[in-house]
Symmetry: C2
Subunit: 450 residues, 2 copies
């Protein structure tokens, strides 16, 4: 094997289509239900929020969806994201595993979120929309949408979860650099926001309610969601499609273990679903692992039920692993993983036994992240550190057994705007806060009976 550690793609190998896992699933995923009628929602129900192209992508059964030329033209600025063999980390771990990380931190927003913000802004721009609203937790999604809106001449208005807004002014500035307008959530600008005290730390569910409320009130304004929905997961599959080709370029016939962190599920699905296709087709047989924080463990401790996507109950009911839509997770540093539910498609494949899931404490994740930074030179986002910590476990197990698995891990973004979290860890002030049985039971009590 050569000394090469960074794998890209020739122009002729660039990904031209997103992959829709629905086409290959043994059973179809349960449909979303209207919050009022409890009947399956149709395209008309979603029209106030989304442009027609995204609605059709939400419900399509086609295996591949072509990436519009205008979107590919933006992807070309930073894609393919590199697939990098983590040789130095392997040496440090003394492992016989071969570890490859797919690094989305090179994107304009510093995370995978641009993969979907760009097509979402593009499709909206085709229909005379002048403004998009959204929520953001860690700030990655708000940043990505602000940039995408700048490209297509749209205004972008972001409700940032209060706890994140208060502790990370740099993140707000970055959204403003890209032209976005940022509000602390809960805000006084919406009925949803006003139903909470002004100093409330907020949650993704509350911020979604605020952004949806504003979008629903104006004809020229639509809403954009950064995870959870089928069309978002679809856009993210560019990650896994590239990774499959890059892995082949690295001389590896396939992956044995595929690992991604999972909050709403789009980063995980983006990497995992193309590998799942290969697995379902019998071409590869990887274990596919979703990693979540022990403080917000929807897959591993939630229930697979219909629940609202937001806190106030304005969205359709989604069949998903949920902790309850009024669950407010502790203010862990991986803001992007603080969501009460899990994408319906990820929930479905988990329920079908096609993927595995595990939950980790954040201290173990930061330890892995620090080791990764000091060897590979990349400071991982706290979200991504969850995937790295699981890879560390797998790599140490391989060192023990002498196995030589090929591990592909999604590094969803860099942590350069999360250095406050690293400072907390380095100074010994980081505390783990796993979800208690009592808090879980209380939150699940709020899930509606359907």
């Amino acid at each position: 094997m050569s000394d090469q550690v960074m794998f890209t793609l020739d122009e002729s190998e660039q990904v031209t289509h997103w992959y829709n896992v629905v086409a290959d699933l043994p059973t179809p995923p349960p449909p979303p239900l209207h919050p009022g009628t409890r009947e399956p929602v149709g395209p008309d129900d979603l029209a106030p929020l989304f442009p027609i192209e995204l609605i059709m992508q939400e419900v399509t059964g086609e295996r591949y969806v072509e990436i519009p030329e205008a979107v590919r033209d933006v992807y070309r600025q930073y894609r393919p994201s590199p697939l990098i063999r983590a040789r130095r980390w392997e040496q440090k771990l003394g492992t016989t595993a071969r570890i490859y990380y797919k690094y989305e931190g090179v994107s304009p927003a510093g995370s995978h979120k641009t993969n979907t913000s760009v097509p979402q802004a593009y499709y909206n721009s085709l229909h005379g929309i002048t403004r998009l609203t959204t929520e953001t937790g860690a700030g990655q999604w708000g940043t990505a949408l602000s940039y995408a809106c700048a490209l297509f001449g749209l205004e972008c208005e972001v409700w940032q979860v209060g706890a994140s807004y208060d502790t990370k002014p740099q993140r707000r500035t970055l959204m403003e650099v890209f032209g976005g307008t940022v509000h602390r959530s809960p805000s006084r600008l919406t009925e949803a926001g006003k139903s909470f005290p002004e100093d409330h730390p907020g949650s993704l569910g509350i911020a979604i309610s605020e952004a949806v409320e504003v979008a629903a009130q104006s004809e020229n304004t639509k809403y954009a969601l950064g995870s959870v929905l089928n069309h978002v997961l679809l856009h993210q599959t560019v990650i896994g499609e590239e990774a499959l080709r890059q892995l082949a370029n690295a001389g590896e016939p396939g992956a044995d273990i595929v690992v991604g962190c999972a909050g709403g599920g789009s980063n995980f699905a983006g990497l995992a679903f193309p590998f799942l296709r290969e697995k379902l087709a019998g071409a590869q047989s990887p274990r596919i692992l979703a990693v979540e924080p022990s403080s917000c463990p929807s897959l591993t401790r939630g229930e697979y039920r219909y629940d609202f996507g937001d806190t106030v109950g304005m969205t359709p009911l989604l069949k998903m692993y949920t902790l309850g839509h009024d669950f407010v997770p502790s203010t862990i540093h991986a803001g992007g993983l603080r969501y009460h539910g899990m994408a319906p498609l990820v929930s479905h494949v988990y329920d079908e036994g096609l993927i595995e899931a595990t939950a980790l404490h954040q201290s173990e994740c930061f330890e892995a992240a620090l080791e990764f930074a000091r060897t590979q030179g990349v400071v991982p986002a706290p979200e991504s550190s969850h995937a790295l910590a699981q890879v560390r476990r797998e790599a140490l197990a391989a060192a023990e057994s002498g196995a030589e698995p090929v591990i592909v891990v999604g590094l969803s973004g860099h942590g350069l705007l999360e250095l406050g979290a690293y400072d907390t860890f380095l100074s010994g002030r980081l505390e783990d806060d796993p979800l208690s049985d009592e808090a879980l039971a209380a939150a699940l009590a709020g899930v509606p009976e359907v």
Copy 2:
């Protein structure tokens, strides 16, 4: 021309040698002088500070120096840095120019500095050295050396300019993430530091004095400099060597204008010197432009004289464009450009008329940076924004004249740890602070007569 905008290199095209411009200069650059004897310094004089390989690189006349395999092995993790056609920015500017930016922000430290920190740490590690000391201004260099030391098992101790230390805690944390130890300069740990009040904003010159003092006192400790010296500029030429090949891959026969920001001079030289070689050989005929801040304009308003590299006067005397070694620039946001002198090699080629120089106000630079971010999706380091502002002028001039120059600009790093500066700009609180004639005269009065 294809739609491709990002240009990399095949493994077979990777750069294997650094380029030494001294071999091709019409006249040799003046030698450094011993601060006591005022005689040219020899290798022995530098031995307390640097390992033999770096000393030999400092004085070599060889045209090419092979990059050690251990260094190339680290470069492979992030090099070649991408050369990217800035099509969206071109469209925004309405220019007929073709603009390519060479983006060093993908490196572990987020700037070009890793190109030299890695070989410096490596060479020191060959000689039983256990600790490196250094200064840092904006923090880019301290970050790069911390990471390089982590790779080769060395301790790293960094004196960070006080003004930067006070306003950018994230930068300190990043150095600590990579394992470095950070002191505010002026510190109480050195005689040099103690000669200034504890709350002094500091300067690169003072921080250099502190780091040199500590290194000189211990056998197992050496000093590492992040710019100015010949061997540092040599290591940075990997940038220009790659850019030349990538430009050819982009179908461009050569550059018409090459632009880089210049503080100590290593970023500028790294990009420019390989193009200067082509120019001296008659293969290309680019204008080569160094851009500096109007608050610290060593090339454009300094004098070409022997001066000390540090404030206290411990270093050799270097023939360079200088504002005077006790000049303390205003606390502009481009901390990496706040150095009183300019690399002797850059000074020499400027004096010979082989390159041009200009000085810009920081407000114009931030305007260009914001425009760049909102089109290209990259937030430039405040240092790099100086080069972008000059490119903007050139591109608008081309739009006026209809000329179609190929412009290559060095984007030395990202500005994700400088968002406080962007916030200052966005909120209208940014002030320009060009150097006054009186302050210049006062500072030049301190330059020793040689």
